[in-house]
Amino acid sequence: MAEERGANQECGENQREELWRDHVRPAQQGDRAARSRLYAVFAKTVHAIVLAHVGYDQAEDVTQDVFCDVFASIDRLRDPQAFAGFLCTAARNAARDHLRRRKRQPAVLTSADLVSGDLVCGEPSPAARTVERETTDRVFQSLAALPEAYRETLLMRLVSGMSGAEIAERTGMTHGSVRVNLTRGMALLRERLGPCLAEGGA
């Protein structure tokens, strides 16, 4: 587990590319370590895609479901290099299936969802926490209103902390497309958030 957690921090970009492709074939054969390594590399990418569709309260569990579904069908993948795209498509399908099953609109994050000790929260005072939760709500709702491509890419950058190059490598998009999605998405987000963006932590 620590190997997987440390993989992204320790490997350079080229090494990272080698890392995940080398583990697809073993993962197809049921190699648990290979599957764990693929999860370590792609978990944040999948989480951002799922977050873009189903909201915070279910995103983590749906993320785990995505990997379960993918590894159940990974023997269908003929080219390891296509794994990234295969995974991202599976994430979107899983998110949409989840919404269909729940038969309602994407969950919008509410302040109550953030009452958790394992979230990265701010100051200890209740008043400060309330402000932070409202800010998170506002930003997330603004993101939720963006077109899907911009929304997913921005979540990968702003929540998962991925660089444009990492987003391209992990999703199969071109660098140019990622750049456009981030730039245009950010412009639309600015319009929606307006002056709020500059007020003490968005």
């Binding site: 620590a2 190997e3 049921g30 279910q58 379960c68 990974i74 953030l114 929540v159 981030l182 500059a198």
Partner: protein
């Protein structure tokens, strides 16, 4: 917000290593609560296999037999005989590189050390009631203790159930917790930082401090111990031991359990009234979310929290979910009474 005329595309938007753009950094901070929590890939995804195509039955039988024979031949060549331990065997380390290693303790227990794993055998002290007739330890009565340390990697363990092997005979230490067998079959994985997770296939284990690093592995004081029955799993990190849940528990239950554990880890003493109130609130939410009898597993562990209010919530929820132990009256019961009842009712396989 920057005026349109002054707005330049910030490189920080495309590369977090570039000079920080305060506007984008503010968005990152606002969205920080949504980040994916550090957690390992679930057991279901690690072990799932795809659906096989149907083949004619005759071919299936023939090909299956041929494959089994071939695999057995290959295994015999590659692995050789299992490593056999006996009472009094000296300390030794087992390292599995590319292939797994099987370690046997007579007919009492077997360990399969998975590839890329390291296990240290510490001792096997016989209880002394066996006749010791078996040179491989099979005459041992399983009443002493066999102690191992899993330094890294994963193992699958099978231990003969009582009365063949006494509960507590088989003990595995990991850096942050110790697994004590209660007569079962389980998988245990330890990573390079000492985080461990256990999944029990049959029987049960207790999973508790202090571990080989000597840490408490606890919350609420030293020595937290959790009970992990068959079909359930638990995770331990340097911060403490998580409350176990059954694999099929709902997402809501698992999430609330994680929140409860995080709150108790972050504040072991619960000195502040606000923290105690939050804890009680979480306990109530968890109790409300528990709708299946097997959700009683995390509820049982709430009985062990050092808070009478939380214990009361847990006791009430257990009464509603599984009924009073031994069909007794609706009242408060001790944790050990609940444990004995739940082990033979809701936590039974198929219960």
């Amino acid at each position: 917000m920057k005026p349109a005329a002054d707005r330049r595309e910030s490189e920080y938007l495309h590369d977090p290593r570039a000079s920080v753009d305060p506007e984008i950094a503010a968005l990152e901070q606002a969205l920080a609560p949504l980040r994916l929590a550090e957690r390992p890939l679930g057991e279901a995804a690690l072990s799932v296999v795809g659906v096989r195509r149907r083949v004619p039955r005759g071919w299936l039988v023939a090909s299956g037999l041929a494959a089994a024979l071939a695999a057995a031949a290959i295994l015999m060549v590659m692995l050789g005989p299992a490593e056999a331990l006996r009472p009094g065997s000296p300390v030794r380390s087992f390292v599995a590189a590319a292939t797994s290693v099987e370690i046997t303790l007579g007919d009492l227990a077997s360990i399969e050390l998975q590839p890329d794993s390291e296990l240290e055998f510490v001792h096997w002290r016989d209880g002394g009631r066996g006749d010791g007739s078996g040179s491989d330890g099979s005459g041992s009565d399983g009443s002493g203790q066999a102690l191992f340390r899993l330094k890294r990697g994963s193992i699958s363990v099978k231990v003969a159930p009582p009365p063949r092997v006494a509960p507590g005979f088989f003990v595995i230490e990991t850096p942050h917790a110790t697994v004590v067998d209660q007569g079962c079959r389980y998988d245990l994985v330890v990573d390079a930082e000492g985080w461990a997770r256990v999944f029990v296939h049959e029987g049960a284990v207790t999973f508790g401090g202090p571990g080989t690093f000597g840490g408490a592995g606890t919350f609420g004081g030293a020595g937290r111990e959790v009970f992990v029955p068959a079909g359930a799993r638990a995770l331990v990190t340097a911060d403490g031991i998580g409350t176990p849940t059954f694999l099929e528990a709902s997402r809501e239950v698992k999430q609330l359990v994680a929140q409860f554990d995080a709150l108790t880890r972050s504040n072991e003493d619960l000195d502040r009234v606000s923290d105690r109130q939050r804890l009680l609130g979480l306990a109530r939410k968890l109790a409300f979310s528990c709708r299946e009898p097997r959700d009683s597993l995390p509820l049982y562990h709430l009985l062990l929290v050092a808070s009478p209010s939380v214990q009361k919530v847990a006791n009430g929820a257990l009464l509603d979910l599984v009924g009073p132990p031994d069909d007794g009256a609706r009242r408060s019961y001790q944790p050990e009474q609940w444990l004995a009842w739940l082990r033979v009712s809701a936590w039974q396989v198929g219960g």
